[in-house]
């Protein structure tokens, strides 16, 4: 069976076919035999030419989190990740102008007001999470077009905080 997975925004096309006593893995011209055993719901044992790998795997919506030999990989399903690629390209310009919360937290202070001119790296707002204050800074030089938050408000990760406009 063929699979398309993305890891760190890179697409990988592979195939894994079941055969007598194991599997055949191929990616491009490379192909080899793999012995795979599920150990428990989150543990998979993999043997490749006698080399043993213990892989931890857990699924959350469209993402798979895997860990082996102390390294973590976040593997995304093809549909979801491709959508992400397109969105990223389309939105990159727009995204820069929408300032989003980097993590879930509580708005402590909004340092700017509507239509105020802002410099690059100027602090726009302060969001607190887990007892640490984090300054949300402007990535561009421009002005404040819109403010979507007020002090005391709880915000989720990626929630739009402010909209900036480019300097005329």
């Amino acid at each position: 069976m063929d699979f398309e997975f993305s890891i760190d925004n890179k697409l990988h096309k592979i195939s894994l076919e079941k055969k007598e006593g194991g599997f055949i893995f191929s990616e491009g011209k490379k192909t080899y035999e793999v012995n795979i055993h599920p150990i428990s719901p989150n543990v998979i044992s993999i043997l490749v030419e006698g080399r043993s790998y213990q892989v931890y795997c857990v699924r959350d919506k469209e993402k798979r989190y895997l860990s082996l030999e102390g390294e973590e990989f976040v593997v995304q399903e093809p549909e979801a990740s491709q959508e992400g690629f397109e969105k990223d390209e389309e939105k990159s310009q727009e995204d820069e102008l929408i300032v989003k919360a980097p993590m879930p937290g509580k708005v402590i202070k909004v340092n700017v007001s509507k239509n105020e001119k802002v410099r690059k790296n100027q602090t726009l707002a302060i969001v607190e999470a887990m007892k640490m204050e984090n300054e949300i800074k402007s990535t561009i030089e421009g002005y404040v077009k819109n403010i979507f938050i007020s002090p005391g408000e709880l915000v989720d990760s990626e929630k739009p905080l402010l909209e900036l406009g480019l300097k005329e």
Binding site: I7, V58, D60, S67, L68, E69, G70
Partner: protein, 501 residues
Amino acid sequence: MLRKILIANRGEITVRIIKACQEMGISTVAVYSEADRDSLHVQLADEAVCVGPAPAIESYLNMEKIIQVAHQMKAEGIHPGYGFLAENSDFAKKCEQENIIFIGPNSKALKLVGDKVRSRQTMEKAGIPIIPGMKSIAKDILEFKKEAQRIGYPVMIKASAGGGGKGMRVVYEEKDLKSSLEAGMREAQSAFGDESVYLEKYIEEPRHVEFQALADNHGNIVHLFERECSIQRRHQKIVEETPSPALNPALRAKMGETAKKVIEVSGYNNAGTVEFLLDKNKKFYFLEVNARLQVEHPVTELTTGVDLVHQQISIASGEKLSLEQEALHQKGHSIECRIYAEDPLNNFLPSSGKVLFLKEPKGPGIRHDCGIYSGCDVPIYYDPILAKLIVWAENRELACQRMVNALNDYVILGIKTTIDFLKDVISHSQFKAGKTTTGFIKTYFGEWEGKQKSEKNLEIALIAAAFDSLSSTRPRKGEEALQKEMFSPWQSLGKWRIGGK
């Protein structure tokens, strides 16, 4: 001896204290906020009571409610852990008035050492070396400016009531003083409920070396040697170890005796830590007393063989110290890594959410003090510490290797953690050489871009993902049937006959 203790805290430290209580035959009462109903400490305690909504100010910092619960559950003592009410002298005093034993210092000593300005004055009088800084709280920004000029830039802003890096800021130039003071005061207010801050000289390239002390209620004091905690980010420790590579026996003895004197002149009892800054020339300055059981206490336990929580409870029960200074020795080397829910690739931003999977490292010389489990939620309301990984080995070199291996064997999936970052810190040549200063992270890891991953492992991850996908595309019903088959003894026992021989 106390028979029942309420633990006014959450997370890994509460789990740690519950275990000590269980060993001593003491019943435990956990308190929890509405966000923490499913937390590990609630599950492990003998009894558990909800003390309010998620924000700490309405639950874990709600003194009246916690004291009321202690009475209601007939707890004779309260262990405050670290953070929250641990260094709140008002709370300690309320406990004393309510006839509840506060497992920590007496409220008078706590008030003195908690007031960093007053404690510095006391120490200066007693001949303890201190860092140049403010002698009183400033009234306004002008006075702060004057003081900063007198001390000389760079200056450090510190919260009068706090520790743990909260409210702390370094200011290099006068133009940044006002905004840094404001930020420091806000952080101090939200972390400790007290916005007072003060200034002191910022010593560059220092080491942070602290001494663990124990004092009973009968005037006996011992120290249990040092912990070096120079590896910090945002002025908060992430790696601690003992013995410190910077001390020799003579300096260790001198600093230890100074630490005991600090405890003595403060009228302090129970467990406390005396923090020093050690400069390049091996001159040391008193910083403050941490009037609590510290996050990094396990490295002392593993090298001295003394259980600090047991000691705290015995001392609070009025017993005499059973330890004598001459009989205390350090054995081998111990390192602790703090596992935080933070993203080291993104300025250590907190990473709350669900822990989808946890695998704890195991093996000889490995201790894991942990407050999480597979499937638990990490709420946004509290400190991002998840767990602590502590190793012991015969020497520092082996301890470093053991730590790297244990970190490699440690899996937390679903949220970002400091595990990968810590691996690179412990493996760094300067760390291995023992050249640790408080500027270490900034100097060597300011531009950290994550661990390099191997191509082979990526390939194996793809294989595992494909296999997982194959197994999960099977119809649900069939999968269930398969699971049942797997765990059915009729399948796994093989051929058998009733009464067969």
